[in-house]
Amino acid sequence: MSDESVEVRDLTKIYTDDARGEVRAVDGISFTCRPGEVFGLLGANGAGKTTTLRMLSTVLSPTSGTATVAGFDIVAGAADVRRSIGFYSSSTALYPRLTARETLEFFARINRYPEAKVQARVDEIISRFSMEPFASARVDKLSSGQKQKVSIARTIAHDPPVLVFDEPTVALDVLAALDMRAVIGELRDAGKTVLFSTHVMSEAEKLCDRIAIIHEGRIHTTGTLASLREATGLHYLEDIFVHYVREARADAEGVRA
């Protein structure tokens, strides 16, 4: 059995759009993630980050290729994959008429967290995120920051081995973004696999153990920040990213020519 908790092989997603025709949103990408690692997908808007993460979380089905998450195939074992991951996105909605505590209980139960441990787990999370003052308040009465906390908390409510964060700091203020990064760091330290997509270079620099630079549906390089620096001779991640994107464009133009 593989040590990788996420294993992606030649994953492809093709959309057919009336205006644009065939769109290859993800074009044969491959990578692996290990437990206790934050793996960052770094790319511009429309690069295919979200599509990749949605395929891994079984929201979208791949056109071709395979992937396993926590040992379960994303197509054949979709239900097991969903129970093994926590998916967070800044656009993830909450149930407005449940309280924060009920929300956490619901997501723990729906993902089959042991019933006897649900209350203890919920109390632990409420304590971790300092949610005591508003744990009994309905979600629709909470402030944006409080909702954000509930949303992160519900992602980890069932203690999944793999966590998927799709641009988690978008629309967060500085303090909330810092808190989010702290949470991701804690999860890594707890041995979780964190798949993290972002287009904010500084965030990727600070958080990611390994980075994959994705552009127009293809991964152009994967490695640690140190290895990327060494390979390109550039120091800043932003420069490294631009370097690979230009290279990719040049390759594409060369193919067209």
Binding site: Y95, R97, L98, E102, F106, R109, R112
Partner: protein, 235 residues
């Protein structure tokens, strides 16, 4: 999907539903408020309609020039209807808005024309009733000539509205008289089945109003069925 998942989902939906004030109001509070209102209104309208109908006097004649046994039946019905019982009012008063009164010498066709009755049912002797039922138009009653008017030609003469019942004097097989259904015993277990056209045109409509019968309205003879519903309940 296991039971704990289903339970979690059901709880989620119920909580969401109960906490949505608009949904609770629309699905529970509003019906609770409006249903009694509708029921009260419906009952009040029905009572008002009933009173309106009761205020109307509908005079319906049962006419016969048939042999004596039919007259005996009618006499018997009148007497039975008028007989005071423990739970029935004195003669001359009405209980179920039906009063039977024996009148002699009245030409029902004339009475119908001048509006003093709304309808009349002609009780024919068996042979004549059979002819009418067989479609013999000559057996139908003819309108009485109106003074000062030229009598119409026979072939184009308008027929009177006619309900003809074929009566059988099977008294021995009939049930004992009932104070509640006065007249049913005497008339027999026969029910006049009025064509819907007659009911609509001559009896109180659903709004409580009546429309006068048209003398030229020709109706088919009515068949008689063995039915326990008494004739009196019909009026």
């Amino acid at each position: 999907m296991n039971w704990s998942t289903i339970r979690a989902l059901v709880l989620l939906e119920l909580r969401s539903l109960v906490r949505d004030r608009r949904t609770v109001f629309m699905s529970i509070a509003l019906p609770v408020l409006t249903m009694p209102l509708f029921l009260f209104a419906s009952s009040a309208i029905e009572k008002r309609r009933q009173k309106q109908i009761e205020r109307e006097t509908m005079r319906v004649a049962v006419a016969t020039d048939a042999p004596g046994w039919i007259s005996d039946l009618v006499h018997s019905a009148v007497e039975s209807r008028s007989a005071p019982t423990a739970d029935a009012p004195a003669p001359g008063t009405t209980t179920s808005a039906v009063t039977l009164q024996l009148v002699t010498g009245l030409d029902p066709a004339v009475a119908l024309r001048d509006g003093s009755i709304a309808a009349y049912a002609g009780l024919a002797e068996p042979d004549r009733a059979d002819k009418i039922a067989a479609g013999d138009s000559d057996a139908l009653p003819k309108p009485a000539p109106v003074e000062g008017e030229k009598p119409p030609r026979t072939d184009s003469a308008p027929r009177l509205p006619c309900i003809t019942a074929r009566m059988t004097p099977a008294r021995d097989s009939l049930p004992r008289p009932s104070s509640r259904h006065c007249g049913s015993n005497a008339i027999g277990r026969a029910r006049l089945l009025l064509p819907s056209r007659v009911r609509r045109s001559r009896f109180p409509t659903s709004r409580g109003s009546t429309r006068p019968a048209s003398p030229t309205h020709r109706l088919r003879p009515v068949r008689v069925s063995d039915d326990s519903s008494p004739l009196s309940s019909f009026f």
